[in-house]
């Protein structure tokens, strides 16, 4: 269990925010300080973007996927990307702790060790002066981008065991699934505009929607199956793009031809149209096209005659179990439709509401970064695969991704659109996206009506 998950479950949970060092998308009315942003989410713990408002990482990924400085001001790699050196920003303090606790290279090294252990990556991490050195046995060209993930955040804890960081907000209180953050006036990147942020997690989509309509929330999630309705109702939406990939994963050894046949039987377009109201795209790639642009080279193939041919070549029995998350209604529908498709070419798929002890598993994997190399690494880790990159170029990422899907043990199906909806109180929100629902430039207009 991750440290963050543990904190959340113990009720002492977490917090927040993504500091994008790219310049904010300010409007023409200059931002006002003060006010409260009320966020609601559905997960079992605070979303990562909120966590990164409290703790920070050594690097950040900007909206274009570029790696930019965070708590590290500069970095370099040597020895074919096996050795990485990071220079830590000086004069940054952890907030919420009575005594001054500076962010040191030693603290950053500890955060890196923690993140690496969670990904099962072996490395030697040293700190000296203001520098941290990380040495790998194999090339890690994506490491600087990978460090932007929340699992590498630099954090401490106060005397009550509450997480503290160096970010633009500090945890003020936690009570059950509600957390209040207060602006850090001394934030090294400049104080953020809203004075407080309250987060309520574990809210259903319907509850969130009602709270936004009743002016009790300022920022809510809009999952793919709700997007069409939100658009029809002219909700104020963030940028909409694919932030989740649905993947069919082989959990046990099967014949490669059978796997390919199964992939080619699946009518992805029907899955998208009927279950997700066309809010996304069909895919043969793990990463969405807006991140890579090379989706055309990994097309989704739906070819029943070829699938039948492959199935006939293998012969024998083709009965498998297909598992899905018991709490996910869309995944159940998806599994049942896939089973229906598979029957057309002689497969028998038994759909089971469980995620263990199955032949195939249907998974939703969130896309958490706009950087191609980091996105592929994190997606692969979520699917219990590892990625080997020669370098951080797009072509290298493509070759690594193609290698992941080439044997059909991972069958990408859909990229699903996500968005956030906001109240009229939020200004300079136009750059908001599923990955960054609360941009640093956003401010609150207290003159607009809100209700407690």
């Amino acid at each position: 269990m991750s440290r963050w998950a543990a904190i959340s479950r113990s009720g002492a949970a977490v917090l927040a925010g993504l500091l994008l060092l790219q310049a904010p998308a300010l409007g023409r009315v200059r931002p006002h300080y003060g006010g409260e942003v009320r966020i609601e989410s559905s997960g079992a713990e605070a979303p990562d973007f909120v966590k990164l408002l409290v703790t920070e990482t050594l690097t950040y990924i900007d909206a274009r996927g570029n790696v930019v400085p965070g708590l590290a001001t500069s970095w370099q790699s040597q020895n074919g990307d096996r050795r990485w050196q990071f220079r830590i920003r000086e004069g940054v303090q952890l907030h919420g702790i009575e005594t001054d606790t500076p962010v040191t290279a030693a603290l950053a090294a500890e955060a890196i060790r923690g993140g690496l252990s969670r990904t099962g990556t072996a490395a030697r991490v040293h700190s000296a002066g203001t520098e941290v050195t990380v040495e790998f046995d194999a090339p890690m060209p994506q490491f600087a981008a990978q460090l932007a993930d929340v699992k590498f955040s630099v954090a401490g804890s106060d005397s009550h065991g509450i997480v503290t960081g160096s970010g633009p907000y500090a945890i003020q209180s936690i009570a059950g699934p509600r957390m209040t953050l207060a602006a850090n006036p001394d934030y090294w990147g400049g104080r953020h505009y809203p004075e407080t942020i309250t987060l309520l997690w574990g809210r259903s989509t319907r509850e969130q929607s009602l709270d936004l309509a009743a002016k009790r929330a300022d920022l809510i999630e809009v999952p793919p199956q709700e997007l069409h309705r939100a658009q029809q109702e002219r909700s104020r939406l963030s940028k909409i793009f694919s932030a989740e990939v649905v993947v069919l994963t082989a959990q046990r050894g099967t014949d490669a031809k059978l796997r390919q046949a199964l992939s080619e039987t699946i009518d992805r377009a029907a899955l998208l149209n009927f279950i997700f109201q066309k809010q996304g795209s069909i895919t043969g790639a793990l990463l969405p096209d807006w991140i890579t642009g090379y989706g055309a080279l990994l097309p989704a193939v739906h070819d029943l005659s070829h699938a039948r041919q492959l199935r006939a070549e293998v012969g024998g029995r083709a009965t498998f179990t297909l598992g899905y998350d018991t709490k996910d209604a869309e995944m159940q529908l998806l599994a049942e439709r896939i089973a229906l498709n598979a029957r057309e070419v002689g497969f028998t798929l038994q759909c089971l509401a469980r995620t263990t002890d199955v032949d195939w598993l249907l998974l939703r994997v969130p896309v958490q970064t706009a950087n191609p190399s980091a996105a592929l690494t994190e997606t692969a880790q979520s699917l219990h695969r590892s990625v080997e990159l020669n370098d951080a170029t797009l072509e290298s990422v493509f070759r690594a991704e193609r290698a992941l899907v080439a044997d059909y043990t991972l069958i990408p199906l859909l990229h699903l659109h996500h968005a956030w909806a906001a109240s009229d109180r939020l200004h300079d929100w136009s750059s908001a996206s599923p990955l960054d629902p609360l941009p640093a430039a956003t401010w609150v207009d207290n003159k607009v009506e809100s209700k407690p």
Binding site: P24, R30, D186, Y294
Partner: protein, 412 residues
């Protein structure tokens, strides 16, 4: 948008005609860029490099070429790209044919991702298929100014880092451009008609800068400027070499005949003025002075959204509801002689605009319709000579900060 074209080529011509054709195509390529809006294409060099990587796979034999547009590039831009690629492949020795009797099939897709355009090529030789992928960051969008408008703008430079203010400095035999950024005071010189960075002097500061950083350049003497930032003042000199000496200070920022104290942890003036009007004003984002016979009418754009005036005796509030936070006065010589340039109100649209107002009986009257910008105006100050304004707009497509000199034209 998806557009597919199957094209075949002719054998390569003689070297000289190739150069002429290349020049013409490059001009066509550039023209298509200039005439079209945002869907920007990269430099011809990027296409040439892509072609040479394809040729490295195909060798100098014959090939078919199929090109598909999966990007936001317009039909014209895609056609220009296709022509440039065809030319560069032929120059590299690939003989493009339409027949099936070829060594290679090349399928090219013009795609894009969050960073820019992506060129994809699949090269099929027999049963073997290999790929080439190249990225080309978005080039700056070319947004044509509407020449019919009274307000006109000239782009001076485009910078990747935020620009807070800009000043032109006229030295003995030279004119320089000075950009104030969060990082440094940056000196530009003109070279072949373009402003290029010459040198920079860093700005050390003891305290953190606020999130929305503002700054102002003010002439302080012959060949000297003062750079004001929240909590920091730099003296910028040019006579004995370019240099900037900075110190932590909260001195008032000169705004014409008044000096206003800036909130060093925010993005606004706190309302204290020197010499002032006998008492503090509500905090404001921007101020401008319009000359009237016998007095000056000051206009303050308040943090509370209200626009107030003060003639030195009486304060008043203007009934305006669609003004942005920033405004400057420009001594154009048109109409009453001085106009107020005001940014737009909404923050919902990606684009911003400037409008020009005359003041008649102390009330604003629209004098120049909106001049559009391809992104929010992040900073605008009256130029050092008072005759024009220096505006910095962040291009929402490229993310670059584009510096414009904005003038008010008469006889429109």
């Amino acid at each position: 948008m998806r557009l597919e074209m199957r094209i075949g080529g002719q054998s390569a011509n003689r070297y000289n005609s190739r150069i002429v054709r290349k020049t013409l195509l490059a001009a066509l390529f550039a023209l298509s860029l200039a005439l079209s809006c945002p869907a920007q294409l990269p430099s011809p060099d990027a296409v040439q490099e892509f072609a040479s990587r394809i040729e490295a796979l195909t060798g100098p034999g014959s090939a078919t070429l199929t090109a598909t547009n999966s990007s936001s590039a317009s039909v014209e831009q895609f056609a220009a790209f296709r022509k440039a690629l065809q030319r560069d492949l032929q120059d590299a020795g690939v003989r493009l044919r339409q027949s099936a009797q070829v060594n290679s099939d090349i399928r090219v897709t013009l795609s894009e991702n969050a960073r820019g355009l992506v060129y994809l090529a699949e090269v099929q030789q027999g049963s073997e298929k290999r790929e080439v992928i190249a990225e080309a960051p978005f080039a700056a969008a070319v947004v044509a100014s509407n020449s019919a408008m009274t307000l006109r703008r000239t782009q001076l430079v485009s910078s990747a880092e935020p620009v807070l203010d800009v000043a032109q400095i006229h030295l003995a035999n030279d004119t320089k451009l000075v950009l104030l950024t969060a990082r440094a005071v940056v000196l530009y010189r003109q070279q072949a008609g373009k402003w290029t960075e010459e040198t920079a002097s860093p700005i050390p500061h003891g305290r953190s800068f606020p999130l929305e950083l503002r700054g102002h350049l003010v002439p302080s003497g012959e060949g000297e400027l003062d750079a004001y930032l929240p909590g920091v003042i730099c003296q910028v000199g040019f006579v004995s070499g370019f240099h900037a000496e900075c110190r932590d200070a909260d001195d008032a920022w000169p705004l014409g005949a008044q000096a206003a104290f800036f909130n060093s942890s925010g993005n606004y003036f706190n309302g204290l003025l020197r010499p002032g009007f006998g008492g503090p004003l509500p905090p404001f984002f921007s101020a401008a002075a319009l000359p009237y016979p016998g007095h000056t009418l000051w206009i303050f754009n308040g943090v509370d959204g209200r626009v107030r005036t003060h003639d030195g005796v009486r304060p008043a509030t203007l009934n305006v509801r669609d003004w942005g936070s920033d405004m400057v006065a420009v001594r154009s010589g048109c109409g009453s002689g001085t106009q107020l340039l005001v940014t737009a109100l909404t923050d919902e649209s990606a684009n911003d605009s400037l409008r020009g107002f005359e003041f008649v009986e102390r009330q604003p009257v629209l004098a120049a319709p909106a001049l559009e910008f391809a992104g929010p105006i992040m900073a605008i100050w009256t130029a050092s000579d008072g005759l024009s304004a220096m505006a910095v707009a962040r291009n929402t497509r490229t993310g670059n900060y584009e510096v414009f000199n904005v003038t008010m034209g008469c006889n429109q």
